[in-house]
Symmetry: D3
Subunit: 238 residues, 6 copies
């Protein structure tokens, strides 16, 4: 099984990290290919970045010609998911929804620990549209930007503080609220008595599940194929 | 990986059918063991049956001494799920929630096609508690009892008629709303232009996913271990 | 009018206490009979206990042959209610919903003060299914187990502390969240400027109301009579 | 026990009918006194009427000097309920909420059959504020005005047609959605296989229940006593 | 364009203040006329006042014979809105809903800072009925009565303290929760880094918008014209 | 006052039509400037188009150097709104939310009549995020594509048929669910007894209202300024 994992920003080291996380989660026969959009934001933190990222990711996907069986969208709370479902004939799994789906199986309420507080709205909307917002007790920011996550000691400390607030709000399970946090579940797991779900890993398993069962996106409603029409994907050179 | 799949009623032929469906879905390295409760209802269609079934299934699970890695509860809309999560240290996945989780990934709204209309309330409550009710467009009965599903021509016809009603209510994906329907997705798939999700298969994949990622039920809240106390699991003989 | 009040656990002293509470609430012409399940948990604190209790209570009710006019289920947040509605031709009132119904008439928001935090989920689900969750501001645990309630000084102190948290969350009325708290409303009433509703008392009054108006459970939908079929209510002796 | 039942319009024959319904429901020791507002609308069908009625009913209640133990507000979906709770030290029960509370105990979903379609909004809002809207499957109009209900053959026919629509929407229990329908439950009961709840009767039983348990409105929040201030209750004569 | 702005209480100085706020907001060609009900409460703080006010305001409006193009109802959280929509052929805008509509355009969540905590319930219900409650993060009381707002230093301090609590609850925009606060947005604006919306000003702009577009209340449903019938608007002199 | 109105697709004739609708609605002192994205889809009908459009519109806005006081986003149900709020210091009003805000003032429930059924999901999500979904009774498709709207006889017929379905679902007010329908309100108004709200016109009035009151987007939460970082807005030329 061949799964394509797309980063939603243009930072290649982050794609590598995401691919590492995806490979750790993948079943023996699954191959993971990483994609980095050729344009878009360096990191996505806010609505403007997210909308820019969505178009860039869709442009990248429509240009990707190697065959594959499923796509994982590795931007937590970022836009584009439904567009990819229209575009592609293979299953599309977004790490936001994926983490929430698995978290619902592990406890009555889950919490998301993310980067900056400003991204909470997008995450809430994304969970709502995916149909899994109901059991989300809280989305809590760590105050760290996407590209600040590298310094892992600071990250772990900020994560644990935010996790405490999620627990106070009723969370029994935690979700890593950024693709760049992939792998962190092991570092924080020891200090927390709660399961920690990584969206990248979760999305890989859900993509494998759908492919394994021969299931793909319904064409019978909102995710019908895009209509044929003129679309300009890039600013005309002046 | 060893997954135990429990039927929720005492009908052994149905356990066999469920095990067959589970094996079809399982990954190469996964072994499936079926359990049939030694007591309880012959089939579960209604609240009384469901509560009786819940106690019998929990009693069966607590007496099952072979080691295993995850449990699938194969009663659509039946009770007991949260009790199994308290009881066991391995992940527990119920076919009701499992089908809904995967269906959410395939379309904007899903519909459940089940047996008798009387079971709709239980299914709605089960989806609500699992946190995946929001995108359920409708739960529709076929008018067939659990043990009437065998005659597959009648079943297919009743399923297709009910599916039509679910589609009119907005469903873009269908869920087989009874463990006894496992396998039916292939028979109805040709006649419907929508993905059809079988809960047994979905639950096996989600159980494999959780085990694969080393995740299990949170003990940090509602699913803490049962307290030590006197419990009598069966009527004392007179 | 003859009302049967069933304890949901096997502790007879608790049945006696519940019967005392029910008799205090009953109208002059009402007789109260207590039932103690012959099997099940010693006390119900958690999902496993609750599902075990549900089957044991239903088994007890189906074996109870004296005539009566209504049943009160005296387990706060415990399962079984809908099964009893299918089983019996007389009205069935559960103390969870009963307390909430009366509390809604007394203030804009109510709070539930219960035993252990772990039971909050069940109570929330039970209120939701009963249709009266909307105006519940909070379900707060005292940290006391069901069988610890006897030591009333500790109980009163823990109750008042939990009541404060419910008030902070917006509660204007309190509900005693355990059958074993019946009678406590008088001990805490002096220290609180809020009405305190006891579910046992509330359920007796609602049962009297339904019987007085000649109303009983609808058979026109989810609570139709159980289908005739083979049901084994107890583990076969080995 | 002394219960005051207030009509919400100025039509005295309707007050008499309501008192008759209330007396049929009352327990042996309960006395029922009817009140007719001295001003207000002849019948209440719409928001304007309802707000006019609310002030007139509150004015009537504050001028009523005979002692009593509880008040029933007999205007289905009409305003004023929360004001009466502020004004009075005795329990206040509105027939809208009362019918819904009892209906929730009898089936999973209930439906309201009312007079003109234009009153549906008020009824929905009233049920929502009372915290019992969740399990309401539909509010259906018969097309008959409040004062047209007298001709009972037409009324029965219109009621049965509307009941059918409520059932199709999922109702398992029906509520008479107008004080002027009191008594109708017997005439339509034979033709319907569902329980039919009369709000006047339900409110009398709930008022008796609260008084019997020594419960009254909470002063700890929204229903605190009205502040002392200048209030002019009627237009100054010119 | 001629807009009538009705105070909801009998305090003329407050009408003047409201008219001042309305004129500050009005477009060049708009004339503002203030109305003070001839009867009703001196100030509205609670349900009783609100229902009394509703009837008095409707009585005042039906007696107002000068021609005008729209009405602004200047009672925050007070009743009567829907009745005025039935009564009048011109658009009716209530300051509660108006402030919320504009606030929704300025941030993801808004908060209301009002007078006494006891009015929170009415405000919540009014926002709900108007369809704009979803993004309201909190309704917070300052502890000041309507007629205490004059002392502006105390008012500003209390407002800022309450604003802090609204922000902690997630508000990104604030709404002045009392007609008597009109003008305060400038005094508190400097100290807060959030937009502050005055309902009087907002309602004037929305009324101008509707009139400018030739839109008025739908007669096709709940806001149909009041039925012709006998209505007594005042207590008969004894 | 200078308002910029951006089309969300690249079809210039549609921009002209939108500008015409905006000018018809604008107050005397308001100037309207139309923007057409230099890239993006020819028309937006579906998620892929909408995400492509969002990036193109944001790119167009960030490159627009003439001074202006507010922006209207003229894509019904299209993405980008929140990104524009981050990007710009002036108020941003989207035609989807604008139409809904005004519709809520005119009736208890509104309905949206749009182009293809496939766009319903986006519209529902957009209304939800804007906080005005609650009173939306239905989003109904006409079956016409965005660029098919020109043939107005067919359009009127399809609109009226869809309007009937919205009314049956409870709508008392209609919303034109596509920027390309602007002006249609007059053609269908005669045949319908309901107010019809055009989003372009509504957004102009709301933008004027915000500017008139000196209000702009809150920076205190989700709509903080975009962080400084590297962003590539278009595919690098190869």
């Amino acid at each position: 099984m061949r799964i394509v994992v797309t980063n939603c920003n243009t930072t290649r080291t982050m794609t590598e990290e995401i691919v590492r996380g995806a490979r750790d989660a993948a079943a023996p026969g699954t191959t993971i290919t990483g994609l980095t959009p050729a344009w878009g934001p360096q990191s996505a933190e806010g609505w403007l970045d997210s909308y820019l990222s969505a178009a860039a990711v869709l442009d990248t996907l429509r240009g990707h010609e190697e065959p594959y069986d499923a796509v994982v969208l590795a931007g937590f709370g970022e836009h584009g998911r439904e567009g990819a479902r229209e575009l592609l004939d293979v299953p599309v799994v977004d790490i936001t929804e994926a983490a929430a789906h698995l978290a619902c199986l592990l406890g009555r309420r889950y919490g998301v620990v993310t980067t900056l507080d400003r991204t909470r709205g997008q995450i809430e909307d994304s969970l709502h549209a995916a149909g899994v917002a109901q059991n989300c007790a809280a989305v809590v920011g760590t105050g760290l930007g996407v590209l600040d996550l590298a310094d892992s000691e600071v990250t772990v400390r900020a994560f644990l503080a935010a996790a405490e607030r999620a627990r106070d709000a009723g969370a029994e399970v935690l979700v890593l609220g950024c693709a760049g946090m992939t792998g962190l579940q092991e570092k924080v797991g020891a200090a927390l008595d709660m399961p920690v779900v990584d969206g990248v890993a979760a999305a890989v398993k859900l993509a494998e599940s759908l492919v394994g069962l021969g299931l793909t996106t319904s064409r019978a409603g909102g995710y019908a194929k895009p209509l044929p029409k003129a679309r300009t994907w890039t600013r005309p050179s002046e």
